[in-house]
Amino acid sequence: MSLVNFTSREITCKIVYYGPGRSGKTTNLHYVYGRVPETRRGRMVSLATQTDRTLFFDFLPIDLGQISGFSTRFQLYTVPGQVYYNATRRLVLQGADGVVFVGDSQARQLDENIESLQNLQSNLLEHGVDVRTMPLVMQYNKQDLPHELILTPPELDDALNFRAVPSFAADALHGRGVFETLKGISELVLKKLAAGSPA
């Protein structure tokens, strides 16, 4: 995907929310959806199972309008978290400009987080992308849960964030950290564009 198209003056960022099942990826998107003025957002496409689990993926296009003469669009995707939807995950990951890893802060979900992170790495590799070159931020979601159930952001950083990418504590349900995360990944993606434009 061409990130910056100088000819048509477009910037399009595809950002994928990745993470284990039930970590709150779709919740992130829903919160963003709720905050974006109607004129700026496209229809949010959500393919969910009856129990509200993401079956394929969610897709939320956001039009940021003209920025520096570029019509700027963000496309937010989530992947289905469950292990057996890996083919879909790989598909959604294709052509991503940046990845938000939404981790579940619950202590008992740590293994799922690690597994999903490894899955992310291997899926990226299948697309020939080195995870080290892919803009990535971590979001530690569900920080609103009782302290005895969750790990603190520094603990999660120790456990998951061995590449020391930007990490954000969040409570996606109530919106804390959602836009901070989005801003964090946008900055990384746009900075990468500044460093070496693929256009």
Binding site: V4, F6, T7, R9, I11, V32, G34, R35, V36, P37, R40, L64, G65, Q66, I67, S68, G69, F70, T72, G175, F179, L182, K183, S186, E187, L190, K191, L193, A194, A195, S197, A199
Partner: protein, 648 residues
């Protein structure tokens, strides 16, 4: 005619809310870096939402940061008026100059450009001029550029090329903040809840909100009692319940959309930085190619634009053009070093000129004269008299420039020196990449004279310097040609240094030639001087056989013996003799034999008389062009024949 900036309209007095944060951020950025951040900055919003305030605030802020800046604020109407006045006074140019020297031009109410074609053209020109000079333009309008009716496409694209931001209606919180700020400015205090009540009413713009504030200020002043929320509702005609519900919803929506607009303005800043990366790439290219002496006007033009399309493609195209120029220049340099230094080969914006110049040089720089194909080595007749020269020639052909350099073929006229010279040239030219210059010394001299005359001696020199072998016939003709000797001397040295073959012919040993400089003579002698002597009988016989065969005359031993025995000093005269005999036989319509030949050559009068042909009598040697007088006219027709011809 230009409005002064209202001192009250600064960023400090502007209440920032979600609806106008982006505009204010952009405005501040522009004020801090006029001309470089967003140029032009186009702010639009409905009436009374603070466009003018922001516009003037930009002016104030810029002035505060850099007091020397020349900042003009005016509305479009003022601009139009000033323009018309200037035109009427015949001061159009002065008017234009005045605005072109402005560091930051703030134009309000641009929407009035509708249906003003001449002003649009004027503004377009001004915008271009200011952008090129790196001066800031900020425009304000009540609608986005694309919605201004009848606005020139070019203006739309120019306005949109910078940053277009809108300012919306302030949300509830902002409205409260505005009311508080304004009442403070007026020194009025209100009971708690009063301002909030005012803010809850839906006002389409801040101006009307101010109107409402003015009313309660006045009411309070007149009544001498603090006004309460209920009184405000009555005063402003607001029903108590109705507006509160939607306003709460609006408030939460406003608060939530605030998050988004904050995000948006953050992203805007990041994109702004990121997009600027192309500037770095262009600047890098400019530096690089400027360093190599190429004109970079085209790239610099890119930099002047706000967001040019296809920057990388433009750079790539530029580099491609430079590469082409380099190739052209190298090609031209091979022909003419002087022409290669030309400016035209360092300006990628004049590719066509460069191509044309290249073509001109290429055309002019035909390779030096090549050996004549009429003298192939196979047709060179060998005999003991020229054996030495021929074997030297073969050595030279096998190892040009290595064995005998120069090779000087010496012999009297008509012995086949020219033939041998050209034959060697032809063989040398067969080698890959070989450029053989083979011409008469007279031609060489004439070329130089023409070059001096045409002021292109460099070109002429380069032409020969490219040659891998230089073959000059009749070197004795250099006598007295000082300049040519000088040039040849230089060429000589270059050829020797580069092991490139030089071959000359001369009628006698070089040291007996008069009028040649010592340095030339010594160099000529430095190689091999191979002599071609008068043709021996064997050679004559070979030559005769070959010649008769080409004339399709059956060879007759007696004839050959007779002809070969005749005292002939050169192959050329031999050929001439045979030609006569063959013509005579053809004229008499009898087979050629020794007796006939004897008749012809030893002066039987009857033959001479009947030899009159209806030809000019000019015989051209089949071995080549007219080479000497000997073979030009050998027999005039009898006078009776000539009379007949004349009568025809």
């Amino acid at each position: 005619m230009t409005s002064t900036l209202n001192p009250r309209f600064t960023f400090e007095t502007f209440v920032v809310g979600a609806a106008n944060r982006l505009a204010v951020t952009a405005g501040r950025t522009v004020a801090e870096n006029p001309g470089s951040a967003y140029n032009p900055l186009f702010i639009y919003s409905g009436s009374g939402l603070g466009k003018t305030h922001v516009l003037m605030a930009i002016g104030h802020a810029a002035k505060a940061l850099a007091p020397q800046l020349n900042i003009e604020y005016l509305t479009l109407d003022e601009y139009v008026e000033a323009f018309h006045a200037a035109i009427a006074a015949g001061q159009g140019d002065a008017f234009r100059r005045r605005f072109q020297n402005v560091d930051a031009l703030l134009v309000d109410d641009v929407q009035f450009l509708t249906n003003r074609k001449e002003m649009q053209a004027e503004l377009l020109r001004l915008t271009e001029a200011l952008q090129q000079a790196g001066h800031q333009i900020v425009l304000a309008s009540d609608r986005p550029p694309a919605e201004i009716a009848d606005l020139d496409e070019r203006l739309i694209s120019r306005f949109s090329g910078g940053l277009v931001v809108d300012m919306g209606i302030p949300d509830y919180e902002t409205r409260v903040a505005i009311l508080r700020r304004k009442s403070e400015e007026r020194g009025s205090t209100f009971q708690p809840g009063v301002l909030e009540t005012v803010a809850k009413s839906e006002f389409p713009n801040v101006r009307e909100l101010m109107g409402a504030l003015n009313r309660i200020v006045a009411y309070q002043a007149v009544n001498d009692t603090p006004i309460n929320a209920e009184a405000v509702r009555q005063l402003l005609g607001v029903s108590p319940a109705a507006p509160s519900a939607p306003s709460a919803a609006a408030s939460s929506a406003a608060a939530s959309s605030d998050e988004f607009s904050q995000f948006l303005s953050d992203v805007t800043v990041t994109v702004g930085k990121a997009v600027e990366a192309w500037r770095a790439r262009v600047a890098e290219a400019v530096l690089r190619w400027e360093g190599e002496g190429y004109r970079t006007a085209r790239l610099e033009k890119l930099l002047e634009q706000e967001t040019p399309a296809a920057v990388d493609e433009a750079i790539a195209a530029y580099v491609q053009d430079v590469d082409r120029l380099k190739a052209l220049e190298a090609e031209v340099a091979a022909f003419d070093p002087q022409a290669a230094g030309g400016k035209v080969f360092h300006d990628p914006d004049r590719m066509e000129d460069a191509e044309a110049a290249g073509a001109r040089v290429r055309e002019g720089a035909a390779p030096p004269p090549a050996p004549s194909a009429a003298f192939p080595l196979e047709s060179y007749v060998v005999g003991p008299s020229n054996e030495v020269a021929l074997s030297a020639a073969r050595d030279v052909i096998a190892k040009p420039g290595k064995k005998y350099n120069p090779l000087v073929i010496v012999g009297k006229s008509g012995l086949g020196k020219t033939h041998l010279l050209n034959a060697i040239g032809l063989e040398l030219a067969k080698k890959k990449g070989a450029i053989v210059a083979c011409l008469s010394t007279q031609g060489f001299v004439d070329e130089l004279i023409a070059a001096i005359d045409g002021n292109r001696v460099d070109w002429w020199r380069a032409r020969y310097r490219r040659a891998t072998a230089l073959l000059l016939d009749d070197i004795q003709l250099l006598a007295g040609k000082e300049r040519t000797q000088e040039e040849l001397f230089n060429l000589f040295n270059q050829f020797l240094d580069a092991d490139r073959q030089l071959i000359f012919t001369a009628p006698a040993h070089p040291n007996t030639l008069e009028g040649l400089e010592e340095r030339i003579i010594s160099r000529l002698e430095g190689g091999l001087v191979a002599e071609v002597s008068e043709p021996d009988k064997e050679l004559r016989r070979h030559a005769l056989e070959r010649f008769l065969k080409t004339q399709h005359v059956p060879t007759d031993v007696a004839l050959l013996d007779y002809l070969a025995d005749r005292p002939i000093d050169s192959v050329r005269s031999l050929t001439g003799t045979v030609q006569r005999v063959v013509e005579a036989a053809a004229a008499q319509d009898v087979p050629l034999n020794a007796a006939l030949a004897r008749d012809v050559l030893e002066g039987s009068p009857s033959v001479r008389r009947t030899s009159g042909l209806r030809t000019s009598g000019i015989v051209v040697s089949s071995a080549g062009g007219v080479r000497s007088r000997e073979k030009m006219v050998w027999d005039w027709p009898a006078s009776s024949d000539r009379v007949i011809e004349d009568l025809r």
